[in-house]
């Protein structure tokens, strides 16, 4: 049974209230940090923990914090990125709605470490019910003296606000999020300058994911070294995985990083295997933007080693035979899944969500979707697959923000691993477009 650091008390009745949360050891990290530690010491603990950003990029959180510019007399900000909207990723909303005080505690401790006196939780606009939960919890924290002026008599002040987003996936990109928070259209900014130097209102800003911030109280309470003992190699601590698709037990699981993928899919502790006793066909391991992998490569690396739920193991082999841990949006597909239809569906999403600011993404995402739509509906041509791969390549790496890659990678990977299924669609349009049609062959790894 793996350790639960964030979700240990998630099922305690009333844990969303200050009183019950406090009774279960809540806000200890605030007391410890504000009364016994300097901000630099808190940053040091986070560095020692090896915590990597849980939003998808996996950048070391402590290192990110140490990049924050600290000019004299200039305010700086901590912004929590709660704009979770990637298909397949639904862990943060659970954390926020069930354990709002854990996030608030993390925000206070993190803000103290960064010297921020005003912090924001930028939440997905559609999650209005979670916003209400957070606002209630923030009011409780203010009333208990954990927010506001002179917190716990330490001389440290912090105001915390929740801001609903504009209902656009792009607002989860950190610079588009900052633009949106400033009241502007959610378009990503060119980098440099990076937010750590010029972020919200052109001030130094750190943007962290909900889960990353929620891990900070644990790290401060137990020490960074203790946290780093969990996991494998540079993948330390625990990770929330939102598992969905053709699984017997889809849901949100807190795992210790390093659990074998096979165990995660098939053991009763986690997903309990593929539904209806069917065979696994493919997995998207880290949210819809990461490359899809066929069963053979998601369970074992190309070298035949067991694939682990870690940043390094999942990316082993690069994009030729590997993928990414990403945000932990684990989508399992059984043998009846049509990969072409699935890829088209992902493309529809990215086409719809592209902000349209830069030309490769604006034009390219639509082009990908239209070709995939044709192939899926039996109007594909022989050259379409190569055009698809080429257009994805033209988008990848040439856009302002990572949405371009997010749109391109699923397409490139689907062609890389399931090219024969695309060809079957094109060569057998009548059979392929029949309701319930399933590609009869096996995927060929290229």
């Amino acid at each position: 049974m793996g350790r639960k650091l964030l979700t240990e008390h998630i099922n305690v009745e009333g844990i969303d209230t200050f009183e019950v949360y406090r009774k279960h050891g809540g806000y200890r990290s605030v007391e410890k940090a504000l009364k016994t530690m300097t901000p630099d010491e808190v940053v040091e603990e986070v560095k020692k923990s090896g915590l990597r950003g849980r939003g998808g990029a996996g950048f070391p959180t402590g290192m990110k914090w140490s990049f924050l510019a600290k000019p004299e007399g200039v305010p700086r900000y901590l912004v929590c990125n709660a704009d979770e909207s990637e298909p397949g990723t639904f862990k943060d909303r659970q954390l926020m709605s069930k354990l709002p005080h854990l996030l608030i505690e993390g925000m206070i401790t993190s803000s103290y470490a960064l010297g921020a006196n005003t912090s924001y939780i930028y939440i997905r606009g559609e999650l209005l019910y979670v916003l209400r939960i957070l606002e209630k919890a923030i009011a409780e924290a203010y009333a208990a003296g954990f927010l506001g002026k002179n917190i716990l008599g330490s001389g440290y002040d912090l105001d915390l606000y929740v801001h609903p987003g504009g209902g656009a996936y792009i607002c989860g990109e950190e610079t588009a999020l900052l633009e949106s928070l400033e009241g502007k259209r959610g378009n990503p900014r060119n980098k440099p300058p990076f937010p750590a130097v010029q972020g919200l209102y052109a001030r130094p800003t750190v943007v962290n994911n909900v889960e990353s911030i929620a891990a900070v109280p644990v790290i401060v309470n137990d020490g960074g070294d203790e946290y780093a003992k969990i996991g494998v190699g540079r993948s330390t601590g625990t990770k929330l995985i939102s598992a969905c698709g053709h699984l017997n037990k889809p849901g949100i699981y807190e795992i210790e990083l390093g659990v074998p993928v096979e165990e995660f899919i098939y053991s009763d502790e986690y997903c309990g295997g593929i539904w209806k006793g069917r065979d696994l066909k493919a997995v998207v391991a880290g949210g819809s933007s990461v490359p899809i992998l066929p069963k053979e490569l998601i369970l074992k690396t190309a070298a035949g080693e067991p694939r682990l739920m870690t940043y390094e193991s999942l990316s082993d082999g690069g994009f030729v035979t590997g993928t990414m841990l990403g945000s932990g949006g684990f989508i399992a597909m059984d043998e009846t899944t049509c990969i072409v239809r699935n890829t088209w569906n992902f493309s529809r999403f990215y086409h719809h969500e592209s902000c349209g600011q830069c030309s490769p993404c604006r034009e390219g995402t639509g082009w990908l979707e239209k070709i995939l739509h044709r192939i899926e509906h039996g109007h594909g041509t022989e050259r379409d697959i190569d055009v698809l791969a080429s257009v994805a390549k033209q988008i990848e790496g040439n856009t302002i923000c990572p949405l371009g890659e997010a749109a391109a990678w699923p397409v490139s990977a689907a062609i890389r691993h399931f090219r024969d299924e695309f060809e079957w669609h094109i060569r057998n349009p009548q059979e392929a477009t029949r309701p319930g049609a399933v590609y009869p062959g096996k995927a060929v790894l290229v």
Partner: protein, 335 residues
């Protein structure tokens, strides 16, 4: 100062200079193309991705190459940086792709477009594109949008460079137009059929790199390469207007008035709508002489010559025409 190597040429530029502007100090054909960057407009650039370059070495301190191509118009130089533009096959291939993307939703209606001959996309496609497209899906089209009596918005041609939005934002008060929608459904719009009506609105025509925003008082009157650009100025009462313009002549008629542009097609100073739309008589202006047109434009490729009339033609001319020719000889302009 920072020393950078751009396509093998070393150049010293002040700190904070962007890679594109560093290349412009060298000049010539190695300068990356720019569709959205516009020097006088703060915050412009980085969107069209036409100016992507490869940074083979980040700086002297950290000589590692940058992992992705970078937009040269918004990336500042660092001392010791090594940049590849025309020398990088990868960059040239990406430019082909960018042209192909931009031409998906920009019709090749150059034969009927007023921007033909002055179009940045036309030049960009000519220099970096290919003559065919692999795109065979449905393209987006728009009904004509009325944004007032002076400017024609032709959204079908818009490439979403945002220049006009920055212009309106930075040059005029009470901006009424911006970008609506997102992705390839994004469009320049005035939000509930407003009109653009302020004293500097005409500058959005000058900054538009394609024919999406054109001068309603000039539309369909003449191809630009048949007109003659002449520098002129006047004492404009508007303190924000420089009063320095280019008059575009056809014969003795001024067909349009524009701000003066530099060799990269960017206006040197802004002009007001009174100068642009209301002063179309030669007598309104102090003429300075032929305007120099650069950037391998078809306008400069044209050689303006006095008409050569042979004896037979002169003999057949009516007397009034002969008198007119003697009194108002066509100007000899150009190279």
């Amino acid at each position: 100062m920072a020393k950078i190597t751009f396509d093998g040429i070393e150049v010293d530029v002040p700190d904070g200079t962007t890679i594109l502007n560093a290349a412009r100090t060298i000049g010539g054909g190695i300068v990356p193309p720019a569709m959205c960057y516009y020097t006088p407009l703060k915050g412009s650039g980085g969107k069209c991705r036409a100016c992507l370059v490869r940074v083979a070495a980040g700086s002297a301190k950290d000589p590692r190459p940058m992992p992705k191509l970078v937009a040269s118009c918004v990336t500042p130089v660092q001392d010791g940086m090594v940049v590849e533009n025309t020398t990088s096959e990868q960059v040239l291939n990406v430019r082909k792709g960018i042209v192909e993307m931009l031409l998906i939703n920009h019709p090749l209606d150059c034969p009927v477009c007023d921007q033909a001959g002055e179009c940045d996309l036309q030049n960009f496609a000519f220099e970096h594109g290919v003559s065919t497209t692999r795109y065979e899906e449905e393209r987006r089209t728009f009904e004509k949008i009325d944004i007032g009596p002076l400017i024609q918005l032709h959204m079908t041609r818009c490439i979403l460079c945002y220049r006009c939005v920055y212009t309106a934002d930075q040059l005029t008060e009470k901006r009424v137009h911006g970008v609506l929608g997102r992705g390839d459904a994004a469009e320049i719009g005035t939000y509930i059929e407003n009109i653009i009506d302020n004293e500097f609105s005409g500058n959005v025509i000058d900054v538009c790199p394609v024919g999406a925003l054109t001068d309603k008082t000039f539309r369909f009157k003449q191809r630009v390469w048949f007109t003659k650009p002449v520098n002129a100025h006047r004492q404009c009462e508007n303190p924000k207007c420089c009063g320095k313009v280019v008059l575009w002549y056809k014969g003795k008629d001024v067909l349009r008035v524009t701000a003066r542009k530099d060799q990269y097609g960017e206006v040197k100073e802004w002009i007001c709508n009174t100068c642009r739309f209301d002063k179309k008589e030669t007598s309104d202006w102090t003429l300075e002489g032929p305007a120099h047109i650069d950037r391998s434009s078809v306008i400069s490729a044209n050689h303006y010559e006095l008409p050569v009339l042979n004896a037979q033609v002169i003999a057949d001319l009516p007397e009034s025409s002969l008198r007119d020719l003697e009194q108002n000889p066509p100007m000899r302009l150009g190279n």
